[in-house]
Each structure stands twice: as C-alpha cells, then as structure tokens.
Amino acid sequence: MNYNWNWGIFFEQSPEGTGSYADMLLSGLVWTIVTALCAWVIAFAVGSVIGVLRTLPSRAAQAIGNAYVELFRNIPLLVQMFLWYFVLPEMLPESWGTWLKQLPNAPFYTAVVCLGFFTASRVAEQVRAGIQALPRGQRMAGTALGLTTAQTYRYVLLPNAYRIILPPLTSEFLNNLKNTSVALTIGLLELTARARAMQEFSFQVFEAFTAATIIYIVINLLVVAVAGLIERRVAVPGR
C-alpha cells in the first residue's frame, strides 16, 4: 500500500487555528456526548409516556401511542433531521421561523430534538414490551389495593419494567450515541464530522478514521460497563 502513514499528525496544528488535530477530535467527542445525553433525556421521558400509552386499556391512548411509533420508525433518521432543520422553520409563523433560523448552535438544538423524538419511539417499544412482560396479576394486585392507574404504573409496573428492559435500553442508548453522527449533515461538529474534516485538511484519511473508531469503541465499552453497574445496583434481591 503506497499510503504515507503519519501518526504524528494528531499533534500538528489544525488549519482552524484552535489547536492540534487531537484537540479537534476531542471537541468533536464532547459534542457527540453532550448531544447524545440531551437527546436521551427527551427520548427517555417521551418514550416512557408513549410506551405507557400503548399499554393502557383506552383504545384512544393506544392509537396515539401506536401512531407515534409508526410515524417515527418509518421515516429514515436523516430525512427526519432535514425535516426539523430545513422544513420546520418554514412551516411555523414567520417570526418564529426567523427566530429558529437565527439561533446560535441551531444544528445542536435540532439534533437534540430530532434524535430525542426519534429515539423515543424505540424507547417506547421497549417500555411497552417491558410492561407487557410483567405478570398480569401485578396490575390487578395494584388495582385491588386501591391504587389508581397512575399510581399502579408509578409504583408497581414501571419500576419492574425498567429493570427488565435495562439491557435493551443500553443498546438503544448506544444507538442514540452512534446516531449523533447523522447530524453532521446539518452541520453539527461531532466526532465523525471532525474526523472527516481532519481527513480533508490533512489527507491523513486512515489516521483520522482510526482515531474516531477507537474513540467510539472505548465509549461503547464504557457505556456497557456503566450499564452493568447500574444493573447490579438496581437488581432486586432474590431474583
């Protein structure tokens, strides 16, 4: 292979003048993590609500929950990104649209909202599956004790369901983290975008992508380790 390797490239100044190429990748990593965490907050909250809706006896609630999941699962994430970024501001009253377009860090906010609602549909699937995996008697026992539906969910069903779905939720979190890279298309300067920029500036393709690859793998391992800790922490004794 006649490729000129140069592993020292990371310590050379990037043409952006804000530090070395290594700094550039690290700032990308920070954006990746911050975007993923913010999106996860939305995804977890919205996903839990939608997941619960789908397990309620009310037909209307189920229909709303199902419609949400179908809508967000059947459109590619990239297209959703474009809808939030290019289309939404045009659909709003003009003054709002202008405000949106002029927001500093617009790609970041857009990515957070888009990923949050997208991932929520997947979290909702898990929450629904978790609740439905519980013995039917649990809901009846809650009701029989005089708990309201909301209380039954809050104190009986959800605490158990979350424990069951911790492993699939971990993998949804990791998907969410990897999906932040799609936001490079709307200009978010996350890790993959920075690796790509480094490649364009320096022509050291493989060093740039190798570094990004290693960073992604390390984050994956860390998240899996932390999830394992949480799992042990919240485990119910005797199960």
């Binding site: 590619p76 045009e90 990897k178």
Partner: protein, 230 residues
Amino acid sequence: MFSNFDFSVILNSWRYLFFDGMAFTLTLTALAAVGGVVLGTLIAMMRLSSVPVLPQIAKVYVNFMRSLPLVLVIFWFYFLVPYIGQWIIGAERPIQVGAFSSSLITFTLFEAAYFSEIMRAGIQSIPKGQGAAASALGLTYWQSMGSVILPQAFRNMLPVLLTQTIVLFQDTSLVYVLSITDFLGAASKIAQRDGRLVEMYLFAAVVYFAVCFIASLLVRRLQRRVAIIR
C-alpha cells in the same frame, strides 16, 4: 400554511426521483440484504462453531461493526476500498471504485453483523435434537446445516430478517454523505436546484413512510402466517 408551496416541482421531477433515485435505493437494499444475510449466516455459524478461535473472530467482527456509527463506516470504506482493491489485484495505484460498489460493499459488511445476530438466534432456536438426528442419520455438518438447521432457522427468523431489511432500506439514505443519487440524494439535488427544500423533503418523507409502513404491515401479516409447523 401550504399556500405558498409549489408542488409542481414534484410533478416535474418524479421520473428522476424514482427511476434514478429510488431505483438506486432499491437495488442497493436488495443486493446488500442478500449479501448481508449470506455473510451474516456464515458469521453466525462461525460464532456457534466448536472450532477454536472461529467464535472469537466472529464475535470481535460483530461487536466491532456494532460499535461504530454507520456514517463513519461509510466514510471508512469509501476511502479504504480503493486501497484494498489495489492490494488484492496488485495495482500501481489505488483503484477506482464506483459509488455503487463502494456502498454495496459497505452495507453488505455492515449489515452482516446485524443479520448474523438474527441468524444466530434462529439457529439457537432449533432444538438440539434436530442436529443430533441429522448427525445420527449420517449427514455431515454442512449437509445438516444446509438441509435441516438453516432452512428452519431462516423460516423462523424470516419476519425479523425482513424487518431488518426495512431498517437497511432506511439506512441506505445515509449514502447522501457521499453525494450519491439515491432517492434522498435525488430529492436533495432537485431541492437545492429549484430552491424547494420544504416540498422535496416533505415528499421524500411521505414516500419513505409509505414504503416502510406498508412493508412492515406485510411483515406483520407474514409473521402470523409462518408460525412454524411443529
């Protein structure tokens, strides 16, 4: 709200959108799905093999691919494949690889990791006795896999494999980052050229939604039908 929309842009460009864009998307999806299932099945067989080292290799491959964002993998292969090609055929310089071949290789190798997990579950869902019965009749490993285990595993997992193919169909939109004219790429080019982003992206979303929604309804119907006779 739609008053200043101009939907004629769609009427004027639909042939390009579908015959160029969607044709590319569907071809890529179909070929990558077939390649991914074949390769994924081989990886799953490695993963469950009793031959030393093979399971570890398969596991590392699968976990590696699943740790990386698809966008990064697309970039990787876009730049790497020319060098690998050069190395394989011993050429002087990195070979020219078309956008289509590059994407096909990327998606086949990437999706194989996901398909392999599905096929692994499928193979493991077949009772151990089936393999024992095949061996007892004198079938070799490959005969037993080919005639007894894999047909059942594939059948049991067909709905899941198809669902993953719908995911793959959506994922192919990411070739946008290589400026390839897939369906979204075509829509995006018209959108930029005519300054009609809102109309084109909404239209793209509606088309993707319709295709995926109908496909997943069909998969669900199939799922109810193929419950294996046992």
